[in-house]
């Protein structure tokens, strides 16, 4: 005999089992009407495969299992399907659920059925399917589909099979009587389960109050070759609880949040074993079960073999109900069963007991008194919880604390409520707390999802805006370049005042739009009473100022166009310079605001980021426009200009380098973690400086001839400066700038390093813009040259850009398609390839001229 491992707690309620074991199991009468719910198990409801008016035979499939966790439903007797509609079903909620109603014809006519000749000869998978198709679900109470428990993955190795015959709830004797009368069915079932799971040992757990059943079972086991141990456990509720029985028989505890199979154990109810035997060996689906009908209000308490779908009142009548005495009708045991208010509710696969209780037997609970923390509940709890603490937490809705006290390990066995001297309905409090926590968690999940969706949408919209802006800027830049060509081809040192006005108009319009945006952002922030209202307010004021300035500039230019002969465009350049400077300042401020917002982790960060990006492009644009104007203004002196610029760039690079070196020295002294990064930065800056110097030298070399040529014609045909080098220069500057910015973000914002870095960034920004301006100037010259050759370089560039954009767009939509798993992927991919080819071709042509 194996050792028994006691579990903590437990109670000894009056057993009340003797009443219903005096007479043998008798078949209940076939009712006139069967009501068969399509969901009698845990999992997905079965799908009806008959329709109203169909004639069905006993054992015929009427609803088929759907999904992995589900079982089939069969007709319990022959007759006609009268109705498929929601009806009252046995469920604690008292809600209605879909049922198939059958008008029985009294013939009780079986469909052709036969079991498997030798289940060992069929593949295991087929056998498991067979069990599922015969509607076997756990008959202990929960109704978990049996096939799922028999079909464990390779990650579960079953050491121990436990057959649960404890039947610890008072009143219930269905398993007891089943063992006494049909032990051979049980053994047959165990053999089948053994064949499927191949456990190393098999234990049958049974309480010591079933002496008769134990004897019968021992006899029956003599005829089997299996090594089965009957383990008699002391009568104590809830020893039949799966976790408690496992502990009792094996000493193993199922870890919290796991299933027994995770520790190599599978538990099956003894009634389920018998049902498996009937299905596999005789082909009989689960259409009937043994139900204990007992309680003080029936004069003949007994066990009945009941067809699934039989209304409870049929059973009560069979057991001679006394309606006058009936006060409470319980389905299941007195500890965990639920009351039903309607005696036409049908018996289902999990209904093991009907208690028709009198008022004396189950009196209404007296009013709850105050908890005196007596701790009796704690001594009774089989899950080793602190029920009284959980009660206080549930009552005061301190759900976090309740969870911390392992509320979800409560099995709702009711032992604590049973012993509570103050009559506190403890289990109800736990159910309440669990539901509240579950609802809260579901709510939280929903909110999180909504937030993610919203943020994704917001980001997408911002991205669209930025893309649009970039495209617009590209077009504007091209237009500006074209303008520059026009200007140079006119060979006048004048700017067309009309164009200038147009530009200024655009600038004014842009600033106005910005103003509006800033205003709406400000209003939004105010509405949300956001933290950075002050910041936004400032931004708004700046934008307002900019708008006014732009407007004034426009007006002045218009006036100037009327009045002046516009021989000199120097003032315009100045204005543009100011504009560029203003744009830069704005950009800096916005960057600062962004940083602050990021530090605060504020919601408006995304918007601010977009604003900064916008301002960045704007600042670059302004700078470019300024550079363009300057370049076109001094096209004749382009060479010397660029030489001066290069000189300046070299000087600045040198300065930057020196500062960076100083910063690095400080950082190394302070053991700053950023020192490594800064070291790399300094190295880069050094190479940059060298590059700038060499560029200057190159320029100096080429200057002589180009000046000579320029005296002859215009600077159109001068020997080209290496455009690629310039481009590289620009991109290097950009990278450096970005790196410095990143570095700044990484360093502590209050340190001296940070402010130094900030300065450096400003300087790098200027350098970058200057390099870019230089590049633009060179490009302008080239465009002119191309124009002289009769090729519209501008058009070519636009075409190339468009082609590239089309390709990018296609790529994006392909990505989207992939995400949404739609089918026109191939078409899109083909399109993408064409677009890419087109873009490549154009880029190639373009590169020939550059």
């Amino acid at each position: 005999m194996s050792k028994i491992f006691a579990f903590h707690g437990g109670i000894h309620p009056p057993e009340n089992k003797k009443q219903s074991t005096r007479s043998p199991i008798r078949p209940a009468p076939v009712p006139a009407q069967l009501t068969i719910p399509i969901q009698q198990h845990i999992g997905a409801p079965a799908k009806p495969c008959v329709k109203t008016g169909d004639y069905v035979q006993k054992g015929q499939l009427i609803a088929k299992a759907q999904g992995r966790i589900s079982v089939s439903i069969h007709a319990s007797s022959s007759g006609t399907v009268t109705d498929i509609s929601p009806k009252a079903v046995p469920h604690p909620s008292g809600l209605n659920a879909p049922c198939i109603s059958i008008q029985t014809d009294g013939k009780d006519e079986w469909i052709d059925h036969q079991g498997l000749d030798d289940y060992r000869s069929v593949p295991k998978q087929t056998l498991i399917e067979y069990i599922r198709d015969h509607g076997i679900a756990g008959m202990g109470g929960a109704g978990f589909p049996t096939d799922v428990k028999l079909h464990l993955g390779d990650d579960h190795i079953v050491n121990t099979l436990i057959i649960n015959a404890a039947e610890c709830e008072p009143y219930i004797t269905a398993d007891d009587m089943l063992i006494r009368e049909r032990a051979e069915q049980i053994v047959g079932g165990i053999e089948i389960i053994n064949y499927l799971l191949k456990p190393t040992h098999i234990l049958i757990g049974i309480e010591d109050n079933k002496a008769h059943a134990i004897r019968v079972l021992e006899d029956a086991l003599r005829h089997t070759e299996l090594n089965i141990d009957i383990i008699v456990v002391p009568t104590k509720y809830p020893s039949g609880g799966e976790k408690q029985l496992i502990r009792l028989l094996t000493g193993v505890e199922v870890p919290s949040g796991h299933i027994p199979a995770d520790v190599g154990i599978v538990c099956q109810n003894i009634g389920t074993a018998a049902a498996i035997n009937q299905a596999v060996n005789y082909g009989t689906p689960l259409i009937s079960r043994i139900v204990t009908v007992t309680g003080g209000a029936v004069s003949k308490p007994q066990n009945l073999e009941v067809l699934i779908g039989t209304p409870i009142n049929t059973l009560l009548e069979t057991a001679r109900i006394n309606h006058d005495q009936l006060s409470r009708l319980v389905m299941g045991g007195p500890m965990m069963g639920y009351t039903i208010e309607n005696d036409s509710i049908p018996i289902i696969k999990t209904s093991n007991c009907i208690i028709a209780a009198t008022a004396e037997e189950m009196p209404p609970a007296p009013p709850a008194q105050a908890c005196i923390r007596c701790g009796l509940c704690e001594q009774a709890c089989p899950a080793e919880l602190l029920p009284q603490q959980l009660y206080w937490f549930a009552k005061s809705k301190e759900f976090e604390k309740a969870k911390h006290h392992n509320l979800f390990d409560c099995i709702e066995c009711g032992a604590c409520s049973y012993v509570c001297p103050s009559n506190i309905p403890l289990v109800q409090y736990y159910r309440f707390a669990k539901n509240e926590i579950r609802a809260e968690e579901a709510e939280q999940r929903k909110a999180d999802q909504a937030r993610l969706r919203f943020e994704a949408r917001q980001a997408r919209l911002e991205q669209d805006k930025v893309d649009k802006e970039t495209r617009r800027k590209e077009r504007a830049a091209q237009a500006a370049a074209a303008q520059a060509i026009k200007k140079t081809t006119l060979e006048t040192a004048q700017t067309n005042p009309e164009d200038q006005i147009k530009q200024l108009k655009t600038a004014a319009a842009v600033t106005r739009t910005k103003l509006k945006k800033a205003l709406s952002a400000l209003e939004k922030a105010k509405a949300e009473s956001s933290d950075d209202i002050a910041q936004l307010d400032l931004q708004y004021k700046q934008a307002e100022h900019a708008a006014e300035e732009a407007q004034t500039a426009l007006e002045a230019a218009e006036k100037g166009a009327l009045v002046s002969a516009a021989t000199s465009n120097a003032p315009d350049i100045k204005q543009l310079k100011t504009q560029a400077a203003v744009a830069r300042t704005k950009l800096k401020k916005a960057q600062q605001a962004l940083k602050m917002a990021e530090e605060k982790g504020h919601d408006g960060v995304e918007t601010l980021r977009a604003t900064v990006a916008e301002l960045e492009t704007k600042a670059a644009n302004a700078q470019q426009a300024f550079a363009d104007a300057e370049a076109s203004n001094s096209s004749s002196g382009a060479a010397s200009q660029s030489s001066a610029m290069l000189q300046e760039a070299a000087d600045k690079a040198l300065q930057t380098l020196q500062k960076a070196e100083a910063a690095l020295a400080t950082a190394i002294e302070n053991n700053s973690p950023a020192a490594d990064k800064m070291q790399a930065g300094v190295e880069k800056l050094k190479s940059k400086y060298t590059e700038a110097l060499s560029a200057l030298q190159d320029n100096a070399k080429t200057q002589q001839p180009s000046i000579q040529q320029a005296t002859g014609q215009q600077a159109i045909e001068r020997k080209p400066i290496d455009l690629k080098a310039l481009k590289q220069n620009v991109s290097i500057m950009r990278t450096k700038l970005k790196k410095a910015e990143k570095l700044l973000e990484a360093t502590d914002e209050n340190s001296a390093e940070a402010s130094e870095l900030q300065q450096e960034i400003t300087r790098l920004t200027q350098l970058h813009q200057e390099a870019k301006a230089q590049l633009d100037a060179e490009e302008a010259i080239r465009i002119k040259a191309a124009a002289a050759q009769g090729i519209d370089l501008k058009q070519l560039k636009i075409d190339a850009a468009l082609a590239r954009a089309a390709a990018t767009k296609l790529q994006r939509s392909i990505k989207k398609e992939q995400e949404s798993e739609q089918n026109n992927l191939d078409a899109l991919q083909a399109e993408l390839i064409t677009a890419q080819q087109q873009a490549d071709k154009l880029t190639h042509t373009l590169s020939q001229f550059e």
Binding site: S256, L329, Q369, G375, E384
Partner: protein, 349 residues
């Protein structure tokens, strides 16, 4: 058919709070008998007087709080508190002192905190500590176990006792007053324990105190058997006090009283079984109850030996009542299927 709809469980153990309280009161009977046998009618009269007051105060409070009167009165908790106060007080305290104590226990320490189940401190001990500090003279008027002297019952009869309690202190009674053994032990001057034992006739009569403790012990065992409380608290109190006193007794038998003396004299047994086990104000889990009891035992010895008061059960229990919520945070049991118990306020989510 009018069937009721109730969630499980549908059966209930035939126990209730009133039953538990009654059983605890019943378990004090051996102690009461012993007290009466050795110290006369005083304790019995005090119990009746205190119970009357307790029920009255309780009723007034319940009415004032608009609660159902009978529903709360029938739980016997007020009477239990009164009984414990009366058992703890010296047998011949004046009536008004008992009234003050009961008022403090029922009104201040219990009802003002929200009634039964809501009091953080044991009401009887709050009352006892208050009168001990406020009325030191009356509270030290213990008597010698005079019943042992010849015709004890005639020395101070029932009527005499009534007069003594309700009529006022008489010179006549001074003849019976005596210090308690703990007093003697605490204030023995420069004597060693050995010398004190020989010199004091109070200590010569210490057998009476042993007998009273034995009677309380019997009552406590009954409650343990009936599973009214678990063994953890009383065992922890007695073992820790025993260990503490043994340790010091072994170090210096001349300076410190022996462990048997500590365990059987004064309120140790009454406190360990009837007061420290008050579930409302003690720690919750079994583990917590052990820590709670250890704290009480250590404090009893500490205060008795080095403190100003000769007995320390009330103070020790009140101090540990204060610590009980804290103990609860760190003494959760290990739940089925968990590797280790949770502890602290929240821990890992």
């Amino acid at each position: 058919m009018a069937l009721i709809r109730i969630t499980s469980p549908h059966v209930h153990k035939p126990v209730n709070t009133a039953g538990i309280m009654r059983l605890v009161i019943l378990a004090t009977l051996p102690g009461l008998l012993a007290m009466t046998f050795f110290f006369g009618w005083g304790t019995l009269i005090n119990i009746i007087w205190a119970s009357l007051l307790a029920v009255t105060f309780e009723a007034i409070c319940i009415k004032a709080r608009n609660r159902p009167l009978y529903f709360y009165l029938k739980d016997y908790s007020a009477i239990l508190t009164a009984v414990l106060i009366a058992l703890a007080l010296p047998p011949f305290v004046p009536w008004w002192l008992t009234a003050v104590a009961v008022f403090v226990a029922i009104v201040v320490a219990k009802q003002l905190y929200g009634g039964i189940g809501q009091n953080p401190f044991n009401p009887a001990m709050v009352a006892y500590a208050l009168v001990l500090i406020s009325f030191p003279l009356e509270m030290t008027r213990w008597t010698a176990p005079f019943m042992l002297q010849g015709d004890g019952w005639n020395i101070l009869g029932f009527v005499d006792t009534l007069q003594l309690i309700f009529g006022g202190w008489s010179e006549h009674a001074d003849a019976f007053t005596s210090a308690t053994p703990l007093d003697v032990m605490r204030h023995r001057g420069g004597l060693t324990t050995e010398e004190a034992w020989r010199a004091s006739d109070v200590l010569a009569n210490v057998g009476a105190w042993h007998a009273v403790s034995a009677a309380y012990f019997m009552g406590g065992i009954l409650l343990l058997y009936k599973k009214i409380f678990s063994w953890h608290t009383p065992a922890a109190v007695l073992i820790s006090l025993g260990a503490m006193s043994t340790l010091f007794y072994v170090i210096s038998p001349d300076t410190y009283a022996d462990p048997f003396f500590h365990l059987t004299v004064g309120g140790t047994i009454l406190g360990a079984f009837f007061i420290a086990t008050d579930p409302v104000s003690s720690a919750t889990s079994n583990k917590g109850k052990i820590w709670f009891g250890i704290g009480i035992g250590v404090l009893i010895f500490t205060i008795r030996t080095w403190g100003n008061y000769p007995d320390a059960v009330a103070f020790s229990i009140l101090l540990m009542n204060l610590a009980a919520p804290f103990i609860d945070q760190y003494t959760q049991p290990r739940t089925y299927g968990h590797k280790a118990p949770n502890s602290g306020l929240k821990g890992k989510a």
